[in-house]
Amino acid sequence: MLIPFFYLLRDGGMKPSITELLTLLEAMKKGVAGQSVDDFYYLSRACLVKDESKLDLFDRIFAAYFEGVEDSLSDLMTDVPEEWLRHQAELFLSEEERARIEAMGGFEELMKALQERLDEQDERHEGGNKWIGTAGTSPFGAYGYNPEGVRIGQQGSRNRSAVKVWDRREYRNLDDSVELGTRNVKIALRRLRKFAREGAADQLDLEDTIDKTARNAGLLDIRMVPERHNAVKVLLCLDIGGSMDDHVRVCEELFSASRSEFKHLEYFYFHNFIYESLWKDNRRRHAEKISTLDITHKYGADYKLVFVGDATMSPYEIVYAGGSVEHWNDEPGAVWIKRLLNTYPKAIWLNPEPRNRWDYTPSVKLTRDIMDDRMYPLTIAGLDEGIKALH
C-alpha cells in the first residue's frame, strides 16, 4: 500500500525513509486520518515532509500521483515561472486576439474565464482538453500552443475540494530552488553561521576540568576541548556592472548581515573577470585600484575565497592577454584567477544565473573548469553545497 507513491516521492527528489512510511501506515491503521482525501493529505504531509522547503514539491507530487497523471512527473522538476508563461501567451496572440482579450477585461479576466470554462467542461464530458485545443474561434485557442499555459489555473478535477488544497501551492516561495529572496536570505545566513562556528583548536576547558576534578575527588584532571571556532575569514569578490548589479545587492546584504559571524570579511569588486587589480569602491574604481598581488600577500591562505558573478562574457576576456573590455591586461584573466586559487585553496564561485543555463555559455564552462567545478547557483540549495565545498 502506498509503495508506488513512496517511490514517486523518492524519485521526485524527496527523501522519505522507511520509518516514516511505516509511521504513516501505522497512523492510518489507527484511524487518524478518517476517510477524506484532505485528511490523508494532511497526515501524509505531517509524516513524510520534514522541511518546509520541500512542501511545494510534495504538493506537486501528491497532485500528480493522486490524479493518475504519473507521466507528468517529468515536468515536475522543471517549474515554469508564471511570468514566462505570460510572455509566451502574449507572444502567440495576434493583434486581433489581443484586442479581444482587452475587450474581455485583460489577461487576469481571461484566465478566470478560461478556468471557468474548464470546470464547466469537466462536468459535461470526458475529452476536455480537445475542446480548448481545437476551438479556433475561442479566445483560448492561442494558449493551445502552450499546454502549461492552460494549466496555470489548474485543472478542475472530480474531487475538487481535495485538489484545491495542494493545488494552491502555498509553499511555493519556500522552495529552496528559487532565488534568494529576503526571507530566504535569512535562512541562508543561518547556514553561514553554522559554517562559521566550526573548526578546531585546542584550549583548556575550565568547566569540564573543574567537573572532572570534582568527580575525581579533588585530584586535578585537566580537560582540553576543541575551540568553538567562530573565526572564519572571507574574501568576497563581486562582479559588478551591467546585469550583475541587482544580484550584487543581494549578495552584499547577505554577507554584511552575517558580518558579525566572521572574524574578517573583505569585499572586492571586479568587472566580468579577475585581472591584475580589484577595487573596493565602485564609484572610484579607476582611481583607487588595489593590486591583486597585494591582496594575496596581505590576506593569508586561511581566508576563504568567494566569487560572485555570472561569468557571462566573451571567452577572450578569460584566456587572452588584452581581452578585458575595460583596459589592457598584460596577462590573461585565467592566469590571475589561478594565482588567487593557488593562494586560497578554499574557494567557490557563486553564479546568480540558473544552473541549467550554464551550459549555453562557453565562458561559464571555462570558469567552471578553472574553478575545478566549484561553481554553485546563488540559491539556498546552491549556497548550501558551496559552503560544504568551503569546509
Partner: protein, 286 residues
Amino acid sequence: MADSRFNGTSTYVATDDLTMAVNAAVTLERPILVKGEPGTGKTQLAIEVAESLGKPLFEWHIKSTTKAQQGLFEYDAVARLRDSQLGDDRVHDISNYIVRGKIWEAFESDVQPVLLIDEVDKADIEFPNDLLQELDRMEFYVYETQKLIKATHRPIIVITSNNEKELPDAFLRRCFFHYIKFPEQETMERIVDVHFPNLKKDLLSEALNAFYKVRDVPGLKKKPSTSELLDWIRLLLAEDIPPEVLRAEGARKAIPPLYGALLKNEQDVHLFEQLVFLDRRAGSSQ
C-alpha cells in the same frame, strides 16, 4: 478516542492540517515538530494541547547553552565535593546529587503529560542527536546510580523550532512535522474572534485590512505577525477608536493609528512613514 482528540480550544484556532498533525502525534505517541514564522503560536500550541486534553504540561525552554543532558538529569559534582570537604553524610549516596531534568519529570508523571521542548534550534547543533534514543524509546540510563528511567506514560512531545539551525535527519525522521504558515484573512478573523469575542464586525474587518496592508509593504525587516495584531487590536479597543478612522486613514493618509504595536523596528517605522508620505503626495497631485 473521541475525547482524546485535539480540535483547537476556545482561545486557540487550529487549522485542519495542524489538528491532523497533532492528533497523529497524540495517537502514535511520537513527538511533533512545529515550525513557522515567529508569533504564529508555536509555543502556545503545546499549552493549548495540554489544556484541551486535560494533561499536565512540562516546559523545557532551550537556550544556546542548553545541553541535552540537562533535560534528563545533572550530577551536581561540585555540591558533592563541597559536602565531602565538610564531612556531610549525604556524600555517600550519589543519588542525593542527581538533579532531575524536565524530561525525567515528564517521564515520571502519573498521567500522560505534554512536554514542550521550546526552540530546539537555539541549542548546539548536536543537541537533537543527543536526544534521539530518549525520544524514541522514551527511556534513558542514569550511569551514576545505574538506574534505567522509563516513561510511565509516553508523553506528548511538542518541539518548536525557529529554523536557526538545520535539524539532523535522524531526528526529523522520528517526528511528525508541521509548518504553521501565516494565517489567511479568514483564519485570522477566527483567531481575532476567539480573543475578542465582542469586537464589532466592521472594526475587525477594517483592522484586518489595515494589518494586511502593512504586511504587504515591501522591504519590512520584521513583518507584524498574529501576536502583534492581537496587541494592536487590544490597543484599538482600549483607545476606543471607531472603525471609520481606520478606513479614512487607509484611503488617504494610510497610516494606521497606534502602529507602534505593529512595527517593532525603528527602520521599519521610518520606511513606513516615508512610503505613506510618498503615497500622500501622489494622492494630492492627482
